[in-house]
């Protein structure tokens, strides 16, 4: 390793980055776009459920039931009718998501559009909550819940820390995938090969600028998340910076690896996408790993993003640090070491 040569290589890379006009909008626009999309879009909460009322009793009891449903804030009445067919049709056409029938003998029946079973479960919970007042059954055991870390139960608090990781995942792997093939495609690879730069120096020279960029992305998304979405940050920022390092190295090495084994930029990016997609779907970023079938849960252990996701959320919401997260960091370090050596070795092979 020669410091002068490495410095020269680094200078060349930074100049190239500065000249790439496509890069800058991608680096700044893409992460913020993702942040706002995820921040605003992802919420599974249900409010104002449109409901059809079939009141066959029409007395003070039935009116009180309906009134308490409306005043709970969960429901709004779209239609009051005496015909069950009307109710069925409204639910079928999607104009209403639920219906309630109060019979003359005071019996209450609830109908819920089950096509979205997640929403249906939540709506059922609302009905239970409101209607339990009208039954004289007293439960034997009564659970009193307490939610830790996120007492207002806001989805953004959970999603936005994940976006910081996703931005690094997408941008770092696409950038690293593109960079080496680009030299191959435009023919400057041969030029580099005749210089006295060693493979390790070259790989490092290529990676270091991207490490910087990844940290800049993080520095962009995290403050934006805190300012715009009021995400709590309970951990230590220094710890997060350190814990992010093995993740960045892993992602960049995988990007570089796909760059080495491809002959065109497009192939390389496609390969990187192939790696990215399962990481996004299965990391627990959007869908809880706990709810997946066992065989799929086992696969998630092979994904670096899964561990980084745990680190991010723990640092943001639980104030996690080294004592809680050393396992995840250790696993990420192993991933980083493995993929880095693999890409350097593959690279050497190509040179000789």
């Amino acid at each position: 390793m020669n410091r002068v040569r490495l410095k020269g290589m680094l200078r060349k890379e930074f100049i190239q980055l500065r000249r790439d006009k496509r890069l800058f909008p991608m680096l700044f626009f893409a992460p913020l776009f993702q942040l706002f999309l995820f921040g605003y879009a992802v919420s599974l909460d249900i409010k104002d459920v449109p409901m059809v009322v079939v009141d066959n009793r029409n007395d003070s009891f039935s009116r009180e039931v309906i009134l308490s449903l409306i005043s709970s804030g969960y429901f709004r009445v779209v239609c009051s009718t005496h015909s069950i067919e009307v109710m069925d049709r409204k639910i079928l056409m999607g104009e209403a998501k639920a219906g309630i029938i109060i019979n003359e003998d005071g019996e209450i029946g609830v109908f819920i559009d089950g096509s979205d079973n997640n929403a249906a479960g939540i709506i059922q919970g609302y009905f239970e909550q409101v209607l339990s007042r009208f039954s004289n059954h007293i439960p034997e055991v009564y659970p009193i819940p307490r939610f830790l870390f996120n007492p207002e139960m806001k989805s953004v608090n959970y999603m936005v820390p994940g976006v910081a990781g996703m931005v690094i995942l997408i941008i770092a792997s696409v950038l690293a995938a593109g960079i080496l093939v680009k030299e191959k495609e435009i023919g400057t690879m041969e030029h580099l090969l005749v210089t006295p730069i060693s493979p390790a120096e070259m790989v490092l020279g290529k990676l270091i600028p991207f490490i910087f960029i990844s940290y800049i992305e993080m520095g962009l998304v995290i403050p934006a998340g805190i300012i715009f979405f009021h995400i709590p940050f309970r951990g230590n920022i220094l710890f997060l910076i350190v814990a992010t390092f093995p993740f960045i190295i892993t992602i960049l090495s995988i990007g570089l690896l796909s760059s080495i084994i491809s002959s065109t930029q497009q192939q390389a990016v496609m390969t990187a996408f192939l790696f990215m997609f399962p990481n996004i779907v299965l990391s627990g970023f959007m869908f809880p790993i706990e709810n997946m079938p066992d065989w799929l849960q086992k696969i998630t252990y092979l994904l670096p993003f899964r561990y980084y996701m745990t680190i991010l959320r723990s640092v943001f919401l639980k104030g996690g640090g080294f004592p809680q997260l050393w396992r995840e960091i250790l696993i990420l370090c192993i991933f980083a070491l493995f993929f880095f050596t693999l890409s350097v070795r593959r690279f050497r092979k190509i040179l000789t």
Partner: protein, 348 residues
């Protein structure tokens, strides 16, 4: 007409020669259907639960036994409340149940304390719902329509079909044009007497047919693996898919007209189509919960409307969708004109 046919024929030869298209169109959707179909579920099962029993009576032990035999919880005994907090922070357990010392002395309303990791609110609410329905027997006589057994794949898999077709349609159309640009053959085409409209149409049509075939392929596959009900008619699925493909493929053409390299096109379609179609179409997250301005944005995505159609058709057996159909047609005309204008400029 003749020039249109020859462009069409040329494109079919291209497709036959390129193996990658087959991978994108056939292998990718099958893998994604399996991946998403199994991955998306918001019903927690086997939740690791810390249990602290201060009462230690026959009644509390019976309760613990019935908790651990339910499919919702995996019980770990803990010795203090501090341990519950510590293990939740470490992520070893997702919730803790504390049985108070006076538990067995109370006949009714014996309260137990439940501590839930709220960092994932969706998971947290699901866990609470399981606990509540475990302890408080349902007081409400409920019937779920269209999806009696509340299978989550019945809801999500139709959405997967919509998202996949959107992604594939946009990627393969933009690929077909940008590739010609990169190889320089697009200039050649523009010097021939083919008008830009018939050039675009001839290029789009084969991909529209491929996407149509793909819809039926993924539907059949989803039926086979996840036993998704298809209650509406296949003819209606065919017609509505055609309506949906016009705006979608037009977006693909516009993206490719505006980008110089395949890499840019791929990245642009990821930002403009793939991500919004997954997040904003109502595929997983209900549109009604989004802020008003974002709901307006969702109306411009063809996937939002097609999703309503596919779900209604599969689960409810509806065959006619006048509102969604007209919206798709309107979006189709809008995006197709944008596509023709933007690619016409490029040719000149």
């Amino acid at each position: 007409m003749n020039s249109f046919l020859s462009i069409l024929w040329k494109e079919i030869i291209h497709i036959k020669r390129e193996r990658r298209i087959a991978v994108i169109v056939f292998t990718f959707p099958l893998i994604m259907t399996i991946l998403y179909g199994y991955a998306i579920s918001f019903e927690p099962k086997n939740v690791p639960t810390g249990l602290l029993d201060f009462d230690n009576s026959t009644k509390s032990r019976e309760l613990i036994l019935s908790l651990s035999s339910s499919k919702y919880f995996i019980i770990h005994r803990v010795s203090s409340t501090d341990e519950i907090y510590r293990r939740i922070i470490q992520g070893e357990i997702k919730c803790g149940i504390v049985i108070p010392p006076d538990f067995s002395r109370k006949e009714k309303m014996a309260s137990i304390q439940v501590i839930i990791d709220g960092s994932d609110p969706n998971l947290g609410k699901g866990i609470l719902k399981n606990i509540q329905s475990f302890f408080i027997p349902s007081q409400v006589n409920t019937r779920f329509l269209f999806n009696q057994r509340m299978v989550s794949s019945n809801f999500y898999v139709p959405g997967i079909i919509v998202v996949l077709i959107t992604i594939i349609g946009v990627i393969i159309t933009s690929h077909s044009i940008v590739k010609e640009k990169e190889q320089g053959t697009f200039e050649l085409l523009s010097t021939t007497p083919v008008s830009s409209t018939s050039l675009i149409l001839g290029k789009i049509l084969p991909y529209a047919i491929i996407s149509l075939i793909d819809v039926f392929l993924i539907t059949g596959f989803a039926r086979l693996i996840f036993s998704i009900p298809v209650r509406g008619s296949l003819l209606s699925l065919f017609l509505n898919t055609s309506l949906f493909l016009l705006p979608t493929l037009s977006i693909g053409v516009t993206i490719s007209a505006l980008s110089k390299t395949e890499l840019t096109a791929l990245f642009a379609s990821f930002i403009i189509i793939t991500l919004p179609s997954i997040l904003l179409s109502g595929f997983v997250f209900p549109v009604e919960n989004m802020p008003g301005w974002l709901q307006i944005v969702t109306q411009f995505l063809p996937a939002t409307h097609f999703l309503k159609i596919v779900r209604g058709l599969f689960l409810k057996g509806i065959n006619f969708f006048p509102a969604e159909g007209f919206t798709l047609l309107g979006l189709g005309i809008l995006y197709a004109s944008i596509a023709i204008v933007s690619s016409g400029k490029r040719v000149k």
